[in-house]
Structures are given as C-alpha cells and as structure tokens.
C-alpha cells in the first residue's frame, strides 16, 4: 500500500529535474531530452491518478478511471511527433551553424 502522494512526489521531482535541465544545459539535444523527461513525469502522475480513481470510485460518472491511461497514450503520441520534428529542426540548424551550443545560435544572421 503505497500512498498516492509518493507517486506524485516522484513525478514532481522528475519534473523539476527536467526544468533544471532545460534551464542549465547548453547542448540543444540535452535540452530536448529534459523536455521529454518532463513529459514522462506528467505521464507518471496520470497513471497514478488512473489507479487512484479506480480504487476510490466517485459517484460522478463523468470521471472514467481508465482515461488517465488513455491520456498517457496521447501524450506519448504527441511526444513522438514533437521529437521527430524537433530533431529535424536541430539537424538543419546544425547544418548551417556547425554547432549544437544554444549560446552560439543567438543571432538571426549566421
């Protein structure tokens, strides 16, 4: 019997680590991976709540317990689409600028 708050605290820790990575790292691919870490943290809290609503049913019929897991499915699809397009953009930036450091990609002119 694990309290739900433990799962949410783990999700919060992962999310904050993702935000820290987004702010502190200079390599553009690592920044992108921190975004994926944030999305994963949110997925964890969705699944935890799906389990919670299943074991503690509510009278309100509009809360479908399993929809948490279905939403995780959609988050993963969006993450996949975003990763594909984002990495394509990173590749095309690398081709022109020859660097992956965000501090060097700070002028519109090459």
């Amino acid at each position: 019997m694990v309290p739900l708050s433990w799962y949410l605290i783990l999700s919060g820790i992962l999310f904050s680590l993702g935000v820290l990575g987004f702010l502190l790292k200079r390599n553009i691919i690592t920044i992108f991976m921190s975004i994926e870490l944030m999305l994963n943290a949110v997925n964890l809290s969705f699944v935890a709540f799906a389990n919670y609503w299943n074991t503690h049913p509510v009278a309100d019929k509009s809360i479908v317990p399993l929809s948490g897991q279905v939403f995780v499915f959609f988050v993963m699809v969006v993450a996949a689409a975003e990763a594909a397009v984002g990495l394509a953009i990173i590749i095309s930036v690398f081709r022109t600028r020859e660097t992956l450091n965000v501090d060097r990609v700070n002028l519109l002119k090459l």
């Binding site: 708050s5 390599n27 919670y52």
Partner: protein
C-alpha cells in the same frame, strides 16, 4: 510491503537517472540515462496496474523515440558540451524558481497525503488492453483520429526539414 520496497527501488533508479542526465557532459550519456529513467518508469507503471501503458512506454518511448535521439547524437557527433557563458538570467531567476516550485508542490503533497489515500496493486486487471481499447475507440475516437493526422503532419514536417538544400 513488497509494493513499497519495489516503488522505492525503482523510484531511486528514476531519480538517479534523471540526476545523471543533468550531470553528464556528453549527450550520449544523458540519452542513455534517459533510457534508464524510461525503463524504470515502465516498471513503476506495472506497479500501478497499467500493463499496456508500460509495454507502450518501452516500445514507443524507450525503443523508438530514444533510438531517434541516439541516432541524431551519433550522426551529428558534436562531442562533449563546452561551458559557455550565456544568459545569467536563467541561473538567477530560474534555479530559485524551480526550487520554490518543487518545494511548494512537495509540501502540499506531504501535508495533504492523509487526504489522498493509497494506491495498490489491484488484482482486478483494470489496465487490460481491451479495456483501454474500448475507451480509445468509443469515447476518445475523435482525439485518436486527430492524433493520427498529427503524426502525419509530423512525418511530412520532418521529411521537409531534413532535406538538403540542392
């Protein structure tokens, strides 16, 4: 008891992987730590009774999206990160902001944990594939179709952006 031990073990692996992602200089090590985080998250999903979501996490996230990341890192081969002095604002405002945010959320959760209750490894097989399929293809059919269009747009975008200028 077993549930708590398993959760603590996999939770620690997750947090260790996430910290390793921040600490490592070379992006390939960060990518592999993220794979470890995703794999242990998949195991935590199994603890929460979400077996289909756990399998999808491994197949799609750790097995396809992260492979894409690893490919790009291998192809671009940019090497370890260098220390550049960029904007100080991110450090001055960002890091305390994150700490305040995390602290607030953590304090709310800890103080409210009595009201939130517990989760358990339920034996009711509620995360089974056909239950999810019923929801996905009946109640959530419109979002499902829209995400398929979204993937199509992403494929076209990635192909167009990846082409070389001839």
């Amino acid at each position: 008891m077993v549930h708590q031990v398993l959760f603590i073990v996999f939770g620690l692996i997750c947090v260790a992987g996430a910290i390793n992602l921040l600490v490592q200089r070379h992006p390939i090590s960060s990518a592999l730590s993220l794979v470890v985080v995703m794999a242990s998250l998949a195991l935590i999903y199994l603890l929460l009774g979400a077996e289909f979501v756990a399998a999808i996490q491994v197949i799609v996230y750790a097995g396809a999206i992260m492979v894409l990341f690893v490919f790009v890192i291998m192809l671009l081969n940019a090497g370890a990160e260098e220390r550049t002095r960029g904007s100080r604002m991110a450090l001055i405002v960002g890091v305390p902001g994150v700490i305040i945010l995390a602290g607030t959320v953590g304090w709310m959760l800890v103080s409210g944990s009595g009201r939130l209750g517990t989760v358990s490894i339920s034996s009711s097989n509620f995360g089974e594939t056909h239950n999810i399929a019923h929801l996905l293809f009946r109640d959530f059919l419109l979002p499902f179709e829209i995400t398929s269009v979204l993937i199509l747009i992403a494929i076209m975008g990635a192909v167009v952006l990846g082409k070389r200028e001839n």
